[in-house]
Symmetry: C2
Subunit: 96 residues, 2 copies
């Protein structure tokens, strides 16, 4: 997860400046966020998404300054999975 | 980025336990990592990948306890991009 664009990101700014002084001026902008991989028991990818979204809202993300996105294995844009209940989900908080 | 599996992840463990006490026992495992989005100037997606990999090795990742993966817009598995030099890359450190 990363801070919403309207929130000043001092860590990202510091990284850009450090990289500039190391000769990496081609890196124009950096946004830092948090990443979570969750293994969950769920009958379907949709159920896994519902569960992880609830967990994000209640525990993992700070809705005042962060937004997030969720990826679930087995959904159309993600790798297919073996039959069974265990599903790997990835969550990144991201700017709006 | 997340810790290599051989490295004990107390934050992930704490999240699983907190979720269990909130009724989310279906969340079996959590691995927490860091996420970076970098906007870089590069002629090609391959050049962007080379740049970001170097930046990860030199500044963003700790190779003793973390491994990472890089995604570049315009590579075959990522969204296509408009012509031009500016490329969005995403970096997640991940277990091996």
């Amino acid at each position: 997860m990363t801070l919403k664009p309207s929130v000043f990101d001092p860590q990202g700014r510091t990284i850009v400046e450090a990289l500039g002084s190391m000769g990496y001026g081609a890196v124009r902008d950096v946004r830092q966020g948090k990443y979570f991989e969750l293994d969950v028991d769920a009958e379907t990818p949709a159920a896994a998404r519902t569960l992880v979204t609830e967990v994000a809202d209640r525990l993992l993300a700070n809705p005042v300054i962060e937004s997030y996105r969720v990826e679930v294995d087995g959904e159309e844009t993600s790798p297919p999975v073996e039959p069974g209940r265990r599903r790997v989900t990835r969550m990144v908080t991201l700017g709006d």
